[in-house]
């Protein structure tokens, strides 16, 4: 692998925090094939990105989940002991309303193996899920329910985690329409 200087590297000075107000999800079992991880990358940049697309099974598609602004976060946590370091990525978000659709989603998602694609505010995407591991629901970090005060808000905060050996950007497609039969 060819190494290079790790400089400031900000596109047009941009470096806004946070994630977009929408993330994309599907069931892990709906994925037919996964993008590939770098195996013999020529450059250090190639070592930080996946190649190819998430391809879903015929009739399956990804769906959107709305995120209240400034409640969404994609965190990369380093875990493990010496010689065994890896990462846990966290997607945290709040979806407002506490309506049937949201309750139905959380009822389904709480014990399901999931996949998420998250877009940050710099336009970079991250895939949570691979051929071995899925993203899973990890609880409500900022609470769920009606809120106590009238000035509060109803809804459900959610956290999803995905354990991975390495962290990559995702440069593939997000199919928001059912996959075709082969």
């Amino acid at each position: 692998m060819e190494f290079t200087n790790i400089d400031k590297n900000l596109n047009n000075g941009q470096n806004m925090g946070g994630i977009a107000q929408v993330a994309y999800y599907c069931a892990w079992s709906d994925v037919e094939s996964w993008p590939t991880k770098p195996t013999a990358p020529a450059t250090i940049e190639e070592n930080g990105t996946l190649t190819g697309n998430v391809v879903l099974k015929p009739g399956k598609q990804m769906h959107e989940i709305y995120i209240t602004d400034d409640t969404g976060e994609f965190e990369i946590e380093t875990v493990g002991e010496m010689d065994g370091k890896s990462f846990v990525t966290h997607l945290r978000l709040f979806n407002p309303g506490l309506k049937k659709k949201l309750l139905g989603f959380i009822n389904w998602a709480k014990n399901e193996n999931l996949v998420f694609i998250v877009k940050d505010n710099d336009g970079q995407y991250y895939l949570m899920g691979d051929d071995t591991r899925a993203a899973i629901y990890n609880g409500s970090p900022d609470g769920s329910g009606t809120s106590r005060e009238t000035a509060g808000r109803r809804g459900i905060s959610m956290e999803f985690t995905y354990k991975t050996a390495n962290v990559y950007t995702y440069a593939g497609t997000i199919p928001l329409t059912p996959a075709a039969s082969a």
């Binding site: 697309n53 497609t173 928001l176 329409t177 059912p178």
Partner: protein, 78 residues
Amino acid sequence: MVWQEYFQLEKLTPGRVIVQGYGEIDFSKEVSPELCLDICENTTGVLKITEKGMEKFYGLKKQPEPGTEKKRTYRKRG
């Protein structure tokens, strides 16, 4: 739709797809063939170019398979 004469979606039904670098594109509607060509050239696994597309954008006509081309027959005069 015109774009479908020149391109074919790969493993997707015509509808909404987020293609990175291009944003969300609704392939159930008319899409500029030039945009399709750009996507085809710069991404993988989204669009395949058809024979008609090869002819339109690259001027390449599919050659007949060897042995399948029509042979001219000549008649002997008189």
